[in-house]
């Protein structure tokens, strides 16, 4: 591990699908306790990168170390200490919220299933929803249920794929505050994807910009705004996505 204590170390990571490159030898680190945004336009390679980190896709080349270890030979230990949440990956709708949480608590080997679920359900204010069918929950309730699932194993690393998309501004704001609270109270490192640059600016300590499968730039939101001479991260995003950034100016 580096002196900054990398939780995720990605080196030369590449992925091709039928000889078409989706990710082209990217390298970046995510440090302990930070919320790191993984940004980029559609097709930049964010989802493929996250799925490789989650061991759902086998890389064509490169290495991924999580907690200083490669997935091969350490899968159980690594996945047991991390979790994932995305509004696009719903929990089974034909189970109740409680049944879903109890199932995942068992898969993660949680010892006090009832106590853990109740404590997290109180944190996310979904206790009354536990007996309800998951398919009957609203989008905001599902997001909170997903986040509850994501914290069942007290993860040290959380991968969040657009956690506030399709939420109204009020619920999205509450969710962001909740995530910051989780990071502060539980010291959870987060890798965060979002297309909402305002939110990224608000909660991410650092961002990594992907464009066409390569790391186009990285730094704190303020560093990047200053570097590109833009007024906010949204403009930086547009500059990079439209390739009017450093490359052209250079």
């Amino acid at each position: 591990m580096t002196s900054k204590n990398s939780i995720i170390e990605v080196k030369g990571l590449a992925k091709e699908f039928n000889r078409v490159p989706a990710v082209r030898g990217i390298s970046f680190d995510v440090y302990e306790g930070e919320i790191c945004g993984l940004l980029g336009p559609n097709g930049a390679g964010k989802t493929t990168t996250i799925q490789m980190i989650l061991d759902l896709i086998t890389p064509t080349a490169g290495t991924i170390k999580i907690f200083g270890k490669e997935m091969k030979g350490n899968r159980e230990e690594i996945l047991g200490a991390m979790n994932f949440s995305s509004p696009y990956v719903a929990l089974p709708g034909n189970l109740t919220a409680w049944e879903n949480l109890a199932t995942f608590a068992r898969l993660y080997g949680v010892l006090d299933i009832k106590g853990t679920i109740h404590s997290l359900a109180d944190f996310f204010d979904i206790r009354a929803l536990l007996p309800k069918m998951t398919s009957s929950l609203s989008t905001g309730q599902l997001t909170r249920l997903n986040l509850t699932k994501a914290l069942l194993n007290s993860p040290k690393l959380l991968l969040l794929d657009e956690p506030t998309s399709s939420l109204d501004p009020d619920i999205a704001d509450r969710t962001r505050k909740m995530l910051v609270k989780i990071r502060n109270e539980r010291k959870v490192t987060m890798l965060y994807t979002s297309h909402n640059m305002e939110e990224v600016e608000e909660i991410c300590d650092r961002v990594v910009f992907l464009q066409k499968g390569i790391v186009k730039d990285f730094g704190t939101p303020n560093e990047l705004i200053a570097k590109y001479g833009r007024k906010d991260l949204n403009d930086v995003f547009l500059a990079i996505a439209r390739e009017h950034g450093i490359d052209k100016e250079d």
């Binding site: 992925k15 699908f17 039928n18 493929t48 799925q51 989650l54 061991d55 759902l56 896709i57 086998t58 899968r75 159980e76 230990e77 996945l79 047991g80 991390m82 979790n83 994932f84 995305s86 990956v89 719903a90 929990l91 089974p92 709708g93 034909n94 189970l95 109740t96 049944e99 109890a102 199932t103 995942f104 608590a105 068992r106 898969l107 993660y108 080997g109 699932k149």
Partner: protein
């Protein structure tokens, strides 16, 4: 393998069974209907007095055994399809769950289904047709165990095909055994098949079980050669199909298809 993870996945499916009428029908209603249908046919054939052929015993025994194998195969395939239908693969495979634990949980589910269906069918067969499954005595357990294993292994095979080709291949989960039924000598002896294809029959563990079942009915004796034939072919199928499944799983991971199974 960790038991808590196997239990977690099993519970996930048992939660579904407790409130789903179609799933319960799949376990109880259809097997009972099949038993009734074949029971009536057997009674009719027996009334024709075909020179010592004990139609009720042979056909009802075959129907029950065939249904147990079919339940075992479907339990494995449908447990997998549940995750496809609910798009739950990402959620379960980002946990520390191993593929072997996933398969083990489906195998135990299959065993539970086989025990449930076997119990219901044997009680009904006894009540309606005076057919006592316990007639097979000691032979019952190894016969059923071999069918359970072969059914589950075929379930893993259909699962591997669905993994590779997506849900367009899901019909195999429900109809694959029909492809084998004519060749595995369920209702007639292998000798009734054309000589040229009898060897196909002997490549399947279920053939040895059905031949063994008929032997017990005819002679009252348990045939060890047939039993070991079932065990041997089962081992070969299990090794080859689990290898095939692991290759297909690696293929979908390499091609990013694990989350696009639709």
């Amino acid at each position: 393998m960790k038991l808590h993870r196997i239990k977690g996945l099993m519970m996930r499916h048992l939660y579904l069974y407790k409130r789903s009428v179609p799933r319960l029908m799949d376990i109880f209603y259809w097997p009972v209907m099949e038993l009734l249908l074949w029971g009536f046919i057997s009674s009719f054939i027996e009334k024709m007095n075909l020179g010592g052929f004990n139609a009720v015993t042979v056909l009802i025994g075959a129907v029950i055994f065939w249904d147990l194998m079919s339940q075992s195969q479907r339990a494995v395939s449908v447990a997998f399809l549940e995750e496809v239908w609910e798009r739950n693969f990402l959620n379960i495979f980002v946990t520390p769950l191993r593929v072997s634990e996933f398969l083990a949980s489906t195998f135990i589910l299959a065993a539970v289904r086989v025990i449930l269906v076997g119990s219901v069918m044997s009680v009904l067969a006894l009540v309606f047709y005076h057919f006592n499954l316990l007639t097979f005595g000691f032979a019952l357990i190894p016969f059923v165990a071999n069918l359970l294993i072969f059914g589950s292994v075929l379930g893993i095979f259909t699962t591997a095909i669905i993994l590779r080709y997506g849900t367009s291949a899901q019909v195999l989960a429900f109809g694959f055994l029909m492809l084998l039924e004519p060749f595995t000598a369920v209702f007639y002896p292998v000798s009734a098949l054309p000589v040229a294809i009898q060897w196909i029959s002997y490549t399947m563990p279920s053939t040895y079980v059905f031949e063994g079942m008929r032997e017990v009915i005819a002679t009252g004796e348990f045939s060890y050669p047939l039993f070991w034939g079932a065990v041997g072919t089962n081992i070969i199928y299990a090794v080859v199909i689990i290898w095939f499944f692991s290759r297909m799983f690696a293929y979908v991971k390499r091609n990013g298809k694990l989350l696009k199974l639709d």
